[in-house]
């Protein structure tokens, strides 16, 4: 027990340190937000002075009705996300001056000084060619130069390092007791690397040189691809597909599972909720089951569902059915229980039968609650389907991004995440539209 406790404390300390190291970035971002706010205020005041009701309030602090989302801030915020993303990935969508310093690419030269066992020294030049990922530059011919140390050529890919066996062509080798003592005239030891301006040169234990080209501030494609390459990937994948499955197929499989699972869940959950809202016996019967299953996250059921139903469509639909079922049952129960008794009484004294009251009073009265439940359930189902596909699936957006991550196709992973976000948002907007259309009285009485 104390072991666990001390382990957790250590984890907390590590976490704290990483938060502290992220502080400059956070403070910088907040500074940018405030800067834009001031700038926008100045611009807007120059253009027009708003004379709406809110602008005339003298007290707005803590006034909920006075705080409305500023659309220009939203636009700037989204644009800035892409600008920052592009700046640190060297995106082609941004003008070059906005780019963060990139990795060194091109040809450069450094000079190493060799000292023989007898103290004699000689210099030789190394021509370094740093190339981008995927490019294969030609190896240039360099004259060997005079003295016992001969000139070398080193070809290295950006973000990678390369060992230089400098004595491969020299007359004095490490076996003869020769060693490198300086780079560009700066003394080189095991402890002290030398910065050449375009990269760092270090001495290895075996006496060879290790060259690491300058990385700059930009992210490597494998960590974070540029927005334009994600976009190009989206275009190419929607045309050609990813790993022999088209994007449309991935998406439609995921959506199919969500819609079928949700509909089944609603089909069973709503009558179940009605029964629980109308009958003491059903309420008592299902309360323990529903109240127990509701807090179990659907993701925790994935292993069991795989054991029982395998990784085919059936298993996933069962999972989504279970995810939607409890939410819909509870929403329907709340909708029925929430009917004001005076409305039922009014209907009775207008001569309605219990069945008519069910049809004309209780069901319509429960619709707003059911819609709220449906929105929550759709959100949960969408999240669950992606997670289930991450674990095991043949097709689906979740499957696509997990496969892409195994091949380090980070652009596909990012594209998948963005698509998942957009579709989730779209589903919610669609549900809200339906809500406004079908239950316009919601929240109005």
């Amino acid at each position: 027990m104390t072991q666990i406790f001390s382990d957790l404390i250590r984890e907390l300390a590590v976490l704290f340190l990483s938060v502290v190291s992220a502080l400059p970035a956070i403070i910088g971002y907040v500074a940018i937000i405030l800067l834009f706010m001031l700038a926008w205020r100045v611009i807007r005041n120059r253009l027009t002075r708003a004379q709406d009701y809110t602008s005339l309030k003298t007290v707005t602090f803590g006034d909920e009705s006075a705080v409305i989302s500023d659309k220009s801030a939203s636009v700037i915020s989204v644009v800035l996300v892409f600008v920052i993303w592009g700046a640190f990935t060297g995106s082609g969508w941004l003008p070059g001056f906005l780019h963060a310093p990139g990795p060194f690419v091109g040809e450069a030269e450094f000079v190493y000084t060799v000292e023989e066992g007898n103290g004699a020294r000689d210099d030789a030049a190394v021509t370094v060619i740093v190339h981008r990922t995927g490019e294969v530059p030609e190896t240039p011919e360099v004259p060997p130069g005079d003295g016992f140390a001969k000139n070398d050529v080193l070809i290295v890919q950006a973000y990678r390092t390369k060992l230089l066996r400098w004595d491969a062509n020299d007359e004095a080798t490490r076996n003869d007791g020769a060693k490198i003592v300086a780079i560009n005239g700066v003394p080189l030891t095991r402890e002290a690397d030398v910065d050449t301006g375009f990269g760092r040169v270090a001495l290895t234990d075996k006496g060879t040189l290790n060259f690491e080209p300058g990385k700059g501030w930009q992210m490597e494609d494998i960590w974070l691809p540029a927005p334009d390459s994600v976009w190009r990937r989206l275009l190419s994948i929607s045309r050609e597909g990813y790993q022999n499955v088209t994007l449309a197929e991935h998406l439609s499989y995921s959506l199919f599972r969500v819609i079928v699972g949700f509909l089944l869940g609603a089909l069973v959950g709503i009558p179940l909720g009605y029964a629980m809202g109308l009958s003491n016996w059903f309420r008592g019967w299902f309360d323990p089951i529903v109240e127990f299953m509701r807090p179990v996250p659907p993701l925790a059921l994935i292993p069991l569902v795989i054991i029982w139903a395998g990784i085919g469509e059936q298993g996933k639909i069962i999972l989504l059915f279970l995810a939607a079922l409890w939410i819909m049952a509870i929403a329907a129960r709340a909708g029925v229980s929430g009917v004001a008794i005076s409305k039922v009484h009014a209907a009775y004294s207008l001569g309605a039968s219990p069945l008519q009251i069910m049809r004309h009073v209780i069901v319509p009265n429960s619709l707003p609650e059911i819609f709220t439940g449906a929105r929550v359930a759709m959100g949960v189902c969408w999240g669950t389907v992606v997670a289930a596909e991450l674990v095991a699936a043949e097709k689906g957006v979740g499957k696509m991004i997990v496969a892409a991550s195994k091949f380090q196709d980070t652009d596909v992973v990012l594209m998948g995440i963005i698509l998942i976000g957009i579709i989730g948002f779209g589903i919610d907007m669609l549900m809200r539209r339906c809500e406004r259309w079908l239950v316009p009285w919601k929240g109005r009485i």
């Binding site: 005076s342 409305k343 009014a346 009775y348 004294s349 207008l350 001569g351 239950v439």
Partner: protein, 268 residues
Amino acid sequence: MSGLEIQDVSMRFDLPNGGHVQALQNVSLSIKQGEIMSVLGPSGCGKTTLLNIVAGFLAPTEGEVVLNGHRVEGPDAERGMVFQQGALFEWMSVRDNVSFGPRMAGKRAAEWRENVDHLLDVVGLQDFKEKMVYELSGGMQQRVALARCLANDPDVILMDEPLGALDALTREKMQGLVLKLWKETGKTIILITHSVEEALLLGEHLLVMAPRPGRIHREYHLPFADLGVGKDLREIKKLPDFGERREEILGMIWDMEEEIMGRSEEAA
């Protein structure tokens, strides 16, 4: 025999802690057909319980309610109810709300349409027939509730503080409307209120109830409702008789409230 008879009705609620509340004790009362009766009393005197028993939403522990010679066993279209907050169906338009009773009875639109439109004209909602009820103000919603009740043509109309949630001006107008509808339709009306003035204006027959246990304290038969039909109710309020009655009943209720306060102070 016609009219409403409340015969020796008692109502006792058992509490979860083993005690009980005597909401009504041996209440007997008869209301003639076409009579408008208002019920007054301090809170907790069982006014609403009595109304719910007449409506059939509650079964009395003792006694019975007899309407036109048959015993009340449950809610029925012969006894319409108007609630404090309208209890309208917000998923329906004004017209659908008002025609709810006839529609549930299986009548075709041709049978009820004329009457429903007429009633909406009477309550002054001719321009709002197609509106949804959540688009109306509180006073308009209450008029929809009245029209909905009338459209079902009940023998007795029960009103549970129907004007309680309205502002003073709207309330005065609605009082005039209730009197007008009472005279035109000849319905029996029981109206619960907290306002002594309203009870005097609208009560041909006025019942003052006392609490713990809920019982009838005094019964009055008053001329003001008849006088007020079609008149400016403010003129009625200026009558010397009216002022006298108002002071008398206010004093009576005041004393009862004092007594309740005193009793709860003793208990504390």
